[in-house]
Amino acid sequence: MEKIIALSTPQGRGAIAVLRFSGEGIKEKLKKYFSPFPSQANQLKAGKINLDGITDSAMLVYFDAPKSYTGEEMAELHIHGSPMLIKTALEIFLSDGFVMAQNGEFTKRAFLNGKTDLARSEGLIDLIDAESQSALKAASDLAQNKLGKKIKNLQSELTDIRALIEATLDYPEEDLEGTQLPSIEKKLQNIIFELQQLLKTASDGKTAKYGINIALIGNVNVGKSSLLNALAGFDRVIVSAEEGTTRDTVTESILYKGLRFNLTDTAGIRETKNEIEKIGISRAKKASEDADLVIYVIDEPIIPLEYQEIKKPKLLVFNKTDQLGQFIKADVNLSAKEGTNIQLLKEVIYNKFNGEGILSADILLTSSRHVSCIKNAYNAVKQANENLYSLTMDIIASFVNEAWLSLGQITGETDTQTVIDEIFSKFCLGK
């Protein structure tokens, strides 16, 4: 049985999200991510989750087989309900051998493993029904939109290739003008390109769905909190002239022309002996690492060394123009206090992230399940293409088939009869 994972709390923002895991070997896998790992089954333990460098507090409980709901090794991971964190977690687990659970799959597994002591539950059936209704709706929405059509097209291009290959494998005695390798190669390369383009939209899709994560960074008392308040349009953060007022990170989301900015105010960076402030500063550094965009706020006309070291999208913002005038080398000159050029900053951010393009885009990948299916398909097609002239056609066929099935998990089309129909419509075969 595959190791499955599912988000069992509702999609969207919540205080806490619960990820559920089932399958042999998940305990060993999760030990890589969670510590200290609970020493006993059935006990929810607090600890730290480490997801590719992002650490956060979390809680974990595991169940041993067969004493679990599914009868398999199971675990539940409770993490903070930030959509970004959930998404990152899912992405990391999916690339580490887990697969997304299908509707009702936990229950199905419970059945397959003979957990018959559970009472029959109409509620469960209703739940699966509801899930399948919403999955159906999602599927039909998908069929309506351009992404769905695109994927269907790609799958039918793969059907073409499969038919070409399968016809030569099943009808060697027929005169099929060679195995048409160059034409297959061209088709494969085209699909690789299309899948690549699709995968690229995943980051735009992420921006569209979850917004841009923006960290406000700068020395103490340059007015980061004032800027956040000015951007938010109300006093979200306590501001004072006293250095080091903001000791923890504070996050606020605003909408600008339909795009979400997730602003994080951070503690000012300075050498400090205050323990709480120290933690705040290290979180500030962390926030800037996790951000899609760093806004570095200054109130002196000097480009700080630290700013130059930031290796990701960044903006240098010169604050307090009401007192200090302009700094020509800054990206935006503004006054948080007076509210001058706040709109300009929003517009600069919007343009920097291709807001126009994102919001008018035909196709954006927003579901991590879709991204994982497309990634699988992409890898399989790449393998087929790279080995086209070195491996035998039976293996090439199995790569193409895998890609076809992966896309089929999105479109729902996984019946081999389609390919066989295609073979007979394309080729003249038989006695």
Binding site: M1, E2, Q102, N103, G104, E105, T107, K108, A110, F111, L112, N113, G114, K115, T116, L118, A119, R120, S121, E122, L124, I125, D126, I128, D129, E131, S132, A135, R162, E166, T168, L169, D170, Y171, P172, E173, E174, D175, T179, S390, L391, T392, M393, D394, I395, A397, S398, D415, T416, Q417, V419, I420, I423, F424, F427, C428, L429, G430, K431
Partner: protein
């Protein structure tokens, strides 16, 4: 002994098999070999194992099936080896998953050899007679034949092939007969309708047979067999059979012209033929009309036997009028002066909807009544034989009140075939193709014995000779595994790598790792290091395939392991799916019709979604009925 008991001895059986084609022969042989007193009926004993179309056995996916029948203890491969004209391995360049053995056989020898085997098998009674009625009795069935005799049995296997109400069509000429002018069976269909079966009409066709002396072989190219290939049956070792060639030629532009000119005379286009024909087996008129941009079509000339001049013309199946056939055949290169001996014809026949069968091939509406072969909507000798052996086995087990044998899709093409037939059904004559199998890399022709001999042994069809050969092969494979894990030093292997144009190594590597290199073969290892020297050729083939394709094979095995629990979860036969509220209407109806035996089978029914399967699982869990 009194007169009555003697007559009873001749009329009371355990199993009656109706039909002595490829399905009937395997069914009767397996039933008799399992100790059941078995009667096999044929409308005409000269039709036993008659090769009504190609004089050949095997081919893609079909070759694998023949090997599987052999591994289970069936007769087809053995009989093929006895009647061999030529042996080839198709798809040599396309990878081991699709290597497919194909034999040309002497069709007369094939018939005679099989008939002789039937005649000399104990417990087996071969009898001429057209079955007209199947009647349900308290303790089984009675089968009446046209002459008035009645036989009784506990189980019956219906394997009537294409003989039910068959008619052959050549232009406007329609003859109500079976293949090759043999009489058709005209009464049994009504009896089946009376028992509750829905009858469908399928069609197929065959090309003309021509006289070899009229062929200009100089304008064709010769196709010889492979001399070093192991025989079809795992138990045979007869390497040096004299092989006979086939010839390859092509249609010409003129072929197309003549067909298009006479299109209005073709029964497929005039509506004379109403049966559903297979798309994979089109007549020449079909090919020319549907694929009009193709310049020429490939034609194979295959000998029908050693003691005959008759040649089978593969690729020119037709139902055109006899005079047009002459014109068409004469346009083929080398056939300018062709002498047709038997006309090409289309044939229509009655068959049933195979979804009325359990995966054991027993009918869902008549306990003890089994169906096998073309009556189930399949096409091909091999597909028929595969169903025959399973029906024979399961009829025998039915009498013994044992669980039926159902092969999985991951175990055999036979499993794929029967699962497709009983789960999805078919709307055209069903031909096996490798692309129908999801585990093609596992279901290979070289390992059918490793997959199925043990099962055949448990069934009781595998005798000591076969089992000992199997054990010896296994023993060598086990030894080979140890050898493959031995380390070769760079000094030993590098010269070999250099010679084969492979990159050298700096540290020692296992023999297995060396063999994984593209240009290193078992033959090279044998030549350079004397490895695997005294091993059977089949074992060497195994070592090479299993090593080179190890990663891909492992991936398929993982998929099989992931599916195994669903496949093994049984569903109660009497379950009323309309009572399960969470199931969608369509799923309820489909499930009620097919009555799947396992959750796996249910999941393959079209119109049943993964969510339906989950609902089913939950329902069963609550009712605790699933074990």
């Amino acid at each position: 002994m009194t007169e009555t008991t003697n007559i009873q001895k001749q009329t009371n059986f355990d199993v009656i098999v109706i039909g002595a084609g490829h399905a009937g022969c395997e069914a009767a042989l397996s039933s008799a070999r399992l100790g059941k007193k078995t009667l096999i009926l044929a409308t005409n004993l000269d039709t036993v194992a008659h090769l009504a179309c190609n004089p050949s056995i095997g081919g893609t996916a079909k070759g694998q099936i023949v090997k599987e029948i052999d591994a289970l203890g069936g007769e087809m491969a053995v009989n093929t080896d006895k009647s061999l004209l030529q042996l080839r391995m198709l798809n040599r360049s396309k990878g081991p998953a699709v290597y497919s053995p194909r034999a040309q056989v002497d069709k007369f020898a094939y018939h005679t050899n099989m008939k002789h085997t039937l005649e000399s098998t104990s417990n087996l009674y071969l009898r001429q007679g057209e079955a007209t009625d199947i009647e349900v009795k308290n303790d089984g069935y009675s089968v009446r034949v046209a002459t008035g005799l009645t036989y009784s049995a506990k189980a019956v296997v219906v394997a009537t092939g294409v003989y039910l109400n068959s008619k052959i069509i050549i232009g406007k000429y329609v003859n109500e007969c079976g293949p090759n002018g043999f009489v058709s069976a005209t009464k049994l269909t009504d009896s089946l309708i009376g028992l509750g079966y829905q009858i469908r009409r399928f069609k197929t066709g065959t090309p003309a047979r021509i006289n070899a002396r009229s062929i200009d072989f100089k304008s064709t190219s010769i196709q010889c067999g492979e001399i070093d290939m192991p025989p079809f049956s795992y138990i045979n070792d007869n390497k040096n059979v004299k092989q006979h060639p086939c010839y390859l030629t092509y249609t010409t532009e003129a072929t197309k012209d003549i067909i298009l000119k006479n299109k209005d005379k073709a029964p497929v286009f005039t509506g004379e033929i109403s049966g559903i024909g297979p798309r994979y087996c089109p007549s020449i008129e079909d090919k020319v009309v549907r694929f009009s941009d193709k310049e020429r079509h490939q034609i194979f000339l295959e000998p029908e036997g050693i003691n005959t001049q008759e040649i089978y013309v593969q690729g020119v199946s037709s139902s055109m009028p006899a005079d047009i056939q002459y014109e068409i055949y004469r346009t083929v290169k080398g056939l300018e002066n062709v002498e047709i001996m038997r006309d090409a014809y289309a044939i229509e026949y009655d068959c049933i909807d195979s979804t009325i069968l359990y995966p054991s091939l027993m009918s869902k509406i008549n306990t003890g009544l089994f169906f096998a072969g073309q009556i189930n909507g399949t096409s091909g000798y091999e597909e028929a034989a595969a169903q025959g052996i399973m029906a024979g086995i399961n009829a025998s087990r039915f009498i013994e009140k044992k669980e039926p044998i159902v092969l999985q899709r991951s175990q055999a093409y036979i499993g794929v075939l029967i699962d497709d037939l009983t789960t999805k059904g078919t709307n055209e004559p069903y031909r096996m193709m490798t692309s129908r199998a999801e585990y093609r890399l596992i279901l290979r022709q070289d390992n059918a014995d490793l997959r199925l001999t043990e099962i055949g042994k448990q069934i009781g069809l595998v005798d000591d000779t076969r089992y000992n050969i199997f054990c010896a092969k296994n023993q060598q494979l086990k030894e080979a595994e140890t050898i493959l894990n031995q380390i070769l030093k760079p000094a030993q292997i590098n010269p070999v790598f250099v010679k084969a144009d492979e990159a050298e190594v700096k540290t020692g590597i296992t023999i297995k790792a060396a063999l994984k290199r593209a240009k290193i073969t078992v033959a090279i290892l044998e030549r350079e290091f004397g490895l695997f020297k005294d091993y059977m050729p089949q074992v060497k083939e195994q070592i090479e395939i299993e090593t080179k394709y190890e990663g891909y094979i492992a991936k398929e095995k993982e998929k099989i392991a992931a599916a195994v629990k669903t496949e093994n979860k049984t569903l109660p036969v009497e379950l009323d799916y309309t009572k399960i509220s969470g199931l969608r209407k369509e799923a309820q109806q489909k499930l009620n019709k097919i009555r799947p035996l396992t959750l796996g089978q249910a999941s393959r029914i079209s119109g049943v979604s993964p969510a339906d399967i989950s609902v089913l699982a939950v329902y069963l869990m609550g009712n605790g009925k699933h074990e």
